[in-house]
């Protein structure tokens, strides 16, 4: 199969059937050894995650790097980071479908899966960070005997609803989009049990015109429902910080700033996954360099918004003239967390600029490296915000520093392991690329061509 043209979204040399075969083959056949090795590696890391969770549950959050001025640490950094990663998936699936950006068809499937896994993992961290995680359900307004409800003024309660809604809608949306392909899988599956499972999951899909019509409507409705979530979830997360009076947290700009950062890091993660995936599954013809180019451009745009947010944040601090805010800003640059500040700036404001170059945007290897670095940069940014702000608050006598313990790092590593283990599993069971949507793309291109 010839390499498609550089700016093509799909290789028009495909036939509908061969395209379907090509994608479905990644699920139903192919080399198992590589997959098993990968799965084994990621599962081992997941076990590490389990181990750290056990520690936190049995010993307490004291195993993590937390103290009194800095009572929020890695778990909160991880919540924000993982949720941010999820955002790209929602953006790709919900907003772009409404904007009729057809390039999304090739990447939306695993971008959405990524969203669900990332949001799920993100949803674990607020619980892991609790002193008494077994009472996490107290954030739910259930009919308690004592008639106690959550305290609605607390942004943490809003948070709970934001994340819960986000995960629910993401799962439903992803599943809705999956239905036609599940039918394809039902048709292709050889074992009886597999046929049966796919058959149940595809809700009796037969590809009838009426099915397609209803499916389109439902899908658009779901997209419309998911769209505000792209903005709302991270805005609410940002309110956890913005509603406090902690210098460094207390900023009206946080919601849009967080959303931009989320999209930025989300696309970085999509690229981090896509680039090796398309190579490994030989999907270069389906996910073309044009896709990479477009995603890199989106990332660049989001990145520029983030840089703008940095500028505005510092300008506002200077302009308002609050001594505590000013000290906080200077202290980030020169104080104990200076490494995180300079690292954040070098990566998010510096490395991002590489994406102006089309050569870099369309060269998968370099783009992959850039994406990984940007992921780190966005993690650092959240680390900087969460840890450096409270460490030097209002009273100098209460100042102290905090950084992660070994358990913190293992937990982060373990959560990455779980994330990739889930993705690896998914690749075996569900088409990595939406078959019907790429076929549709192919059809459109042929019409145009």
């Amino acid at each position: 199969m010839a390499e498609p043209q550089r700016d093509a979204l799909i290789d028009t040399a495909f036939g509908y059937a061969s395209l379907g075969e090509r994608i479905a083959a990644t699920v139903l056949s192919g080399s198992r050894t590589g997959w098993l090795l990968l799965l084994a590696g990621f599962t081992t890391l997941s076990l590490l995650f389990l181990y750290t969770i056990m520690l936190v549950f049995t010993v307490g959050v004291g195993v993590l790097g937390l103290n009194i001025p800095v009572a929020w640490g890695f778990p909160i950094v991880n919540v924000v980071w993982w949720l941010g990663i999820g955002h790209a998936g929602t953006l790709i699936s919900a907003i772009l479908v409404q904007l009729r950006q057809d390039w999304r068809n090739s990447v939306n499937r695993f971008a959405e899966a990524m969203t669900i896994f990332a949001a799920g993992i993100a949803g674990l961290f607020p619980v892991l960070h609790l002193g008494r995680p077994w009472f996490a359900y107290w954030l739910v307004p259930y009919p308690a005997t004592m008639e106690i409800w959550p305290q609605w003024r607390s942004p943490l309660v809003w948070d709970f609803f934001a994340i819960a809604t986000y995960i629910t809608v993401s799962v439903l949306f992803w599943y809705t989009g999956l239905v036609p392909d599940l039918a394809t899988m039902r048709d292709r599956a050889k074992p009886r049990w597999a046929k049966r499972i796919y058959g149940v999951l595809c809700l009796g899909w037969r590809g009838a015109h009426s099915h397609w019509r209803r499916f389109r409507t439902a899908y658009l409705v779901m997209a419309a429902l998911a769209t505000p979530l792209v903005v709302s979830v991270h805005s609410v997360i940002a309110l956890d910080f913005a509603t406090t009076i902690v210098p460094g947290y207390h900023s009206e700009m946080f919601p849009p700033y967080f959303v931009a950062g989320a999209i930025f890091s989300g696309f970085a993660m999509v690229l981090t996954i896509t680039i090796p995936l398309r190579r490994w599954l030989r999907l270069e013809a389906v996910i073309t360099t044009r896709h990479l180019d477009i995603m890199a451009k989106t990332m660049l745009a989001a990145g520029l918004v983030v840089v703008y947010a940095y500028l505005v944040e510092h300008f506002v601090i200077w302009y308002v003239g609050d001594e505590y805010e000013r000290y906080m800003a200077l202290n980030r640059i020169l104080g104990p967390y200076a490494c995180a500040w300079w690292g954040t700036m070098a990566i998010n404001a510096g490395v991002t600029q590489l994406l102006w170059s089309k050569r870099i945007r369309t060269s998968p290897a370099i783009l992959f490296c850039v994406a990984i670095v940007l992921n780190v940069g966005m993690w650092l940014e959240r680390y900087l915000i969460v840890l450096s702000s409270p460490h030097r608050g209002y009273l100098p006598a209460a100042w102290d520093t905090e950084s992660g313990t070994m358990i913190d790092w293992l937990m982060l590593l373990g959560s990455l392991g779980l994330f990739f283990a889930l993705l690896t599993l998914l690749l075996r069971w569900i088409p990595a690329v939406s078959i019907y949507e790429v076929k549709e793309l192919l059809h459109e291109r042929r019409e145009e061509g």
Partner: protein
Amino acid sequence: MTDTNEGKRRGELWRGTTTPRAPLAPPTDRRTFLKLAGWSALAGGAAACTPRSPEELVPYVDMPEHVVPGRPTYYATTLLREGYGYGAIVETREGRPIKIDGNPGHPATLGASDAVLQAELMQLYDPDRSRTPLHDGTPRSLDALAADLATLRERLLKSGGRGLRVLTPPVTSPTQAARLGALLDSFPEARWHQWHALARDAAITGSRIAFGRAVDITTRMDRADVIVQLDGDFLAEGPAHLAHAADFSSRRRPGPGMLRLWVMESTPGLAGAAADHTLVVPQPRVVRLALALAAELGLAVPAAEGLSPRERRWVAACARDLAEHRGRALVLAGDPQPPAVHALAHWLNAALDAPGRTLEWRDPALARPEPVIESLTALAEDMHRGEVDALVVIDGDPAYDAPADLRFAEGLERVSTVIHHGLYVDATARRADWHVPLAHDLESWGDARAFDGSVSLQQPLVEPLHASLPRLALPEMLMGRWPRSDREVVAAHWEARLGGESAEPWKAALRAGIVAGTASSSVDVVPRPSAIRDALAETPGNADAPAPVLQFRADPHVSDGRYASNAWLQELPRPLTKLTWDNALLISPAMAERMGIGDEEVLRVSTGQATIEAPAWVLPGMPDEALTIWLGHGRAIRSGGEGDSLADGVGVDAYPLRTTGALFARTGIDVEPVGRRYALAATQHHHRMEGREPVRRMTLAEVLDGRDHAPQGDEHPSLYPEPVPAPFDVDAPQWGMAVDLNACTGCMACTAACQAENNIPVVGKRQVRAGREMHWIRVDRYYEGDADAPRTLFQPVPCQHCENAPCEYVCPTGATQHDSEGLNVMVYNRCIGTRDCSQNCPYKVRRFNFVEYNYGAQEAELLSALRNPDVTVRSRGVMEKCTYCIQRISRARRQAKIEDRPIADGDVVTACQQACPTGAIVFGDVSDPESAVSRAKNHPLDYALLAELNTRPRTTYRARVRNPHPDLEENDSSGGDKAHG
């Protein structure tokens, strides 16, 4: 755990009704009460291993008098420290002592306390205390001990007690002194020696030089206008320090005639921090400055040489101030200074007309005032000569704390019978033939004199927790008068004076905790200038001492090592260093810079004979070319319970460097970095105010000029309507607190008292290092000015109980709420531990149980007995903080309801307020304009911390006011540079 301990845990701790103790206020009602389980288990076990006669143990079938479940009973008693008595009121619950506070009627405490007094409670329950007699390290019964002592007695009787030596701390107790006297009568050849590592030898010798006899000083600081301290720390050391603090602070109220304090010090202390002018010099140099001061005041003393211009100016201004306040001036010499300086201080005081006005010379409170170093040296020499046959060490650990050149531990090997009677299986106990557990002061009968000679009685609050013997027991055994209860011994001693045990004077003395009219009489003595001059001429220090100087000081909390395994004291931040758990070589910033070292870098200090390695700690206000190390660390204790002693691996033992000739300072040392670091756990990491002015300062001149408002922060106008403050509910009192920063000396008594009152766990060094200490009230310490001679500011910070509390709105479960009385309350049961409240607290006063901090206490069953039953013990994952002692508020409210009256001002006293020796903390109803706290808050110097945040804290502060001498206006306001972290 044996059956005995099981029984003890369940409730045998109270003393039966047959023990005629006298509570403070007899209870008015009785209630029936269920018999406590486990009594029978105790009866067998306890009788087997304690000397108490079984008939004194009464089952809990009938409720004992004075014990009402749920209601505290208070007893007056006395705790001993360095031999001196500190009168205390002890709160007991169902027979368990749970809180110690000062006795308002006792001159040494005046109702206040210090950290050590608070922590004596922990000492009582300390799981490391030895629990059973040991013979050559093997547990034996007290009967076996008695039998062995009877044999020893037979042996000694034949020789008239030849070779029998008794070693005690300095004794003020009339009974103990009399009984030791009786022992010496029955064994004429026996000798009684005294030793305490921190005994005030120089004061005794100094008075002998000045007057030819031992004389005690008692001060009347409330009559003084000017006080000059020649080294030492009158606010922290010595048996009168609490009385000093109270008197001193009474004259520090800003206004005309405010007392001015001048302090020369060789190691930063509380007095230096409180002073208006502090001169920092190495210890040997103080002599020279004292001479210069005396010369300026016209005394004929040897000329002082080599003073720097700054020192000259300082001394001249100080002398002028003293001269201008003749009759209202006072000069104090510190314990670390040589006797000649003490003698000179007597002379100066006489010259300033102080006697009879700001001080009194009195007969010593000690039964046998003598320089203990001479007493111990004589004993050690006799031991080495093999002249000691039997040595009885009562309440001491000389093998640990004796000066190194006496080689005391070696000497012990030449003594055929060593009997150690102490709280711990320590270095001496391990070298002794017999170790006998010592009953804690709260388990014993006794008596002691306060610094002014006033006698107070000691009555036990609880049956001995272990198979221990009281302090008075061993001499009685040696005299063949055993078994005899310590109560009989004390009562017999006071029979003549107070009547029998049934007589009213005895009961009154027990009830009040003080025997009226026992203060020593003042003596009419006149200093002898020639003798003082001779002594000064012989005292080195006028020449330049070879640098550097190594100075020994008692650990501010652990003392000479007596409290080395006391968890509360080990974890209580030291007032100036804010260090916990370890000692360190304190070093000045300038010297550290010259040596190119920083905090935690290990230094090797060698004297030729001995070497220690200890981490450095840079302390602003340390004199240059001097190092200070605290004594009392590195003590080897074998825990009486299971596992290691708490003192294991804590700090470095500095006693090996201490010799008879250099008890408080020595020269001729080599200091070099080892190139290794040792982690220290401090609770404060930043030491400057960064222009934020949490502590507002003014000078007296500014106050008198009418600039009498505490400098307020910038006003921030707002376009928004003010958030609704919690309205004053007219029916409910509104609680508030005012803290007078001018009165606060930074002594940490409030933190210790809070820990005892509120069941605050000890978290250990690693957790403190991680920044997770749990103290509900911390005392912030800031430096201002030159790092080598900084001004030190203290600020106690409890929960501010904001009316617009930032912690409340962020809690997702509503676990922190406002109540109708304006308290910001924590609902522990509802807390899930998001810690958002702490993140949003600008004062950072919230404390979190990151792990289960009570496991240790659960394992050591003894420790569960010291819990305050009115206060919830918090589990892991729960936020906690200062509650304004809500349990005490609740108790006052219940009492007021019973009596059908409103809560009166003063009904609620918080634990920190109660402990504070200077009355710096005032608490009460702020909605009542007449209440003490309202009056304090209406003071023009009152301000709210971080008021610009509009949190409307209920805790406010009164600005610190300095009273500098007009000739010495220092303009050094450059920032100190101890900034790390």
